[in-house]
């Protein structure tokens, strides 16, 4: 028992020393605008990087993995399973989060700590992204940079509209993702996958339901998509292109016959952040590559 107690204390020692490391406090260079931000939500973190204000970030959640530097930020956990003390230990003055952040009791604990909480709705369309860019620009007190970012954004959107306006065909796309075991899930209406497919000049083959539903082999064959869009992670989990094409039902689709599977990163594709128009343009090119 005594040795066990000693072992326990030994394990705890490094923990204590880690916890004792003091956080560095940046000297505030702009009055009232936040200088130590914890950003919760991949798209919001991307906006901060796109505005060139990443120096003010002291932490982010695990969904913030773009740009690659963002992965090096201290991680406060998954956006829906935050820990109040963990976030506060980074000594933020502002916590910027999307409306998916939670759980609610943790948000209440954070509110009690008097740190500024800013919650922005998750964007589901281009206007939503514009609104978030403007809001983050205003929060960081860099409206000029935000305007410049919006101009680039709008220019890419204009390019995209010009390209899609010229195209007469609208490829039929099926978006599929796999979380864990069981059948892959297929995106219906009112999903971010549906929005980006439409934006990229494609057409979601599923219009019979909203949200995500498990794939049934017969439905997959009946929908007969020209292209199957998957997240990179789903493709890896499935074990590559060959095994994906062997999923019952999928193997009967035109997409499988012509081997037209497009893997794209989840955050890029569904994140609805500053890269969305570029992602849609990229998707458009790949949809029309044949």
């Amino acid at each position: 028992m005594r040795t066990l107690l000693a072992a326990f204390l030994l394990v705890l020692c490094p923990v204590l020393s880690v916890a004792d490391t003091p956080g560095q406090i940046n000297s505030p260079d702009r009055a009232n605008s936040p200088n130590r931000i914890v950003s919760v939500g991949g798209a919001l973190t991307e906006i901060i990087y796109a505005l060139g204000e990443q120096g003010r970030l002291v932490g982010s959640d695990t969904t913030s993995y773009f740009p690659p530097e963002a992965e090096a930020l201290p991680k406060v956990g998954y956006q829906r399973a935050l820990s109040a003390e963990g976030i506060l230990s980074l000594r933020p003055d502002t916590i910027l989060m999307n409306d998916e952040a939670g759980p609610p009791p943790v948000l209440k604990q954070l509110a009690a700590s008097k740190v500024r909480l800013v919650s922005l709705p998750s964007a589901t369309d281009l206007d939503g992204i514009r609104r978030n860019i403007r809001a983050v620009g205003a929060l960081l007190d860099v409206p000029g940079t935000a305007d410049a970012l919006l101009q680039t954004f709008d220019k890419t959107v204009a390019d995209l509209t010009a390209v899609t306006a010229r195209q007469s065909d609208r490829p039929r796309v099926l978006y599929m993702m796999n979380h864990g075991s069981g059948s892959p899930m297929v995106a219906g209406r009112d999903t971010s996958a549906d929005s980006i497919i439409t934006l990229a000049g494609g057409q979601n083959v599923v219009d019979g339901y909203t949200g995500y539903k498990p794939l049934t082999p017969e439905a997959a064959a009946a929908h007969a998509p020209d292209v199957i869009l998957v997240s990179t992670r789903t493709l890896e989990q499935a074990g590559g292109m060959e095994s994906l094409l062997r999923i019952p039902g999928l193997n009967l689709t035109p997409a499988a016959r012509n081997r037209r599977i497009i893997p794209m990163d989840d955050l890029l594709l569904l994140g609805f952040g500053p890269r969305t128009p570029a992602a849609a343009l990229d998707l458009n090119k790949r949809l029309h590559s044949q």
């Binding site: 705890l12 916890a19 829906r80 399973a81 820990s83 003390e85 000594r91 209440k108 700590s113 995500y212």
Partner: protein, 347 residues
């Protein structure tokens, strides 16, 4: 430790009251030390001297009072609740393998929570904050009441019937949860799996106080029933001959244990292992007298969960581990070690 307990037993053979007081005092000290350690350690480390002298910064103070203290109190309450209900269940079933999950509380709670997460969609306001907790409590109590009702169909409130009904109801609730998992989308699935792993991260003062007001009376009821539980160890028939109303006792035990576990599950999700092993450990160390077993399980369960939660919120700071994983991960091997050691001692 075992030599110490043996010495305690020998020294106080004629004075069980005194032995009881010393053991409970020791466990009380353990809980106090666990609490003191837990207050100072965390993602943010606070100085005990500063806390006691009240010279914390305003920020540290708000962390201490609105996050850490309610959390430690919650860990202690939940640990105690799981410990005593485990002890009561093992006494009732006269089986060291019995744990609160047997009377269907965790299964029912998980099903109710899955219903809220998957079917109710996003709820906001008061319900968003406490909705899952309320659902877990109602679901847990409801399923244990169903099991109790089925056990009474036989006319005798049979423990065997209760056990079998518990297994059947658990199968049904887990199937229901599985079906809802199948219906859930990515985010709902994550919410659900985080809930089942158990965490004390959402400790706010209100649920902590509600939980305490349920658990403390239950603790006293169980302590009062400890003599009767001792009688029950003789077997149901013998206990009846000794003048014990076993039906009433069984009903009282099941109701109190359900209330305790229901309250615990509501605020913390499913935290495994404590309910099963804490009373077991106490029994191995100090014997199976319920007069000692119940309060000792409360104190030891509380200390153990406070310590486990301290580790859970420190090892991977600034994020945290679900404490339910940790209790099973550390507790399982420790328990095995103890079992092996005990069986070696016996010839």
């Amino acid at each position: 430790m075992t030599t110490l307990t043996r010495r305690l037993t020998v020294t106080f053979q004629d004075k069980p009251e005194q032995r009881l007081r010393i053991i409970l005092g020791g466990l009380g000290c353990l809980l106090f030390m666990a609490g003191a350690l837990s207050v100072t350690v965390g993602a943010l480390s606070l100085d005990l001297a500063q806390i006691l002298s009240g010279s914390l910064t305003e920020f540290d103070q708000s962390v201490l009072f609105s996050i850490r203290l309610p959390r430690i109190l919650l860990a202690a309450t939940v640990g105690a609740a799981l410990g005593i209900s485990g002890a009561a269940m093992q006494g009732l079933f006269r089986n060291p393998l019995a744990d609160p999950a047997l009377i269907g509380i965790t299964g029912g709670a998980a099903l109710a929570v899955a219903c809220v997460i998957v079917l109710a969609g996003t709820v906001s306001g008061y319900l968003g904050l406490y909705g899952l907790g309320i659902a877990a409590f109602v679901g847990g109590i409801a399923s244990s009441m169903v099991i109790m009702r089925i056990a009474r169909f036989s006319g005798t409130f049979s423990v065997t019937h209760m056990l079998l009904a518990g297994i059947a109801i658990n199968a049904v609730t887990f199937a229901g949860t599985g079906f809802l998992t199948f219906l859930s989308d990515d985010q709902q699935l994550r919410a659900l799996s985080f809930w089942t792993m158990g965490s004390l991260g959402g400790a706010l003062w209100e649920p902590v106080l509600v939980c305490l007001t349920i658990v403390i009376p239950c603790l006293f009821v169980l302590i009062r029933k400890s003599r009767d539980l001792n009688l029950l160890l003789l077997g149901e028939e013998n206990a009846t001959y000794a003048g014990l109303d076993t039906h009433r006792l069984k009903r009282a035990i099941v109701i109190t244990a359900s209330l305790c576990v229901g309250a615990a599950v509501a605020v913390s999700g499913i935290i495994g292992f404590i309910g099963l092993v804490v009373p077991h450990l106490i029994r191995l160390l100090f014997g199976s007298d319920h007069k000692l077993l119940i309060p000792a399980s409360a104190l030891f369960g509380a200390s153990l969960l406070v310590l486990a939660d301290t580790v859970a919120r420190t090892v991977v700071a600034p994020t945290e581990m679900p404490v339910g994983i940790l209790t099973s991960l550390v507790g399982g091997p420790f328990f095995l070690w103890l079992l092996v050691k005990q069986s070696r001692l016996k010839p």
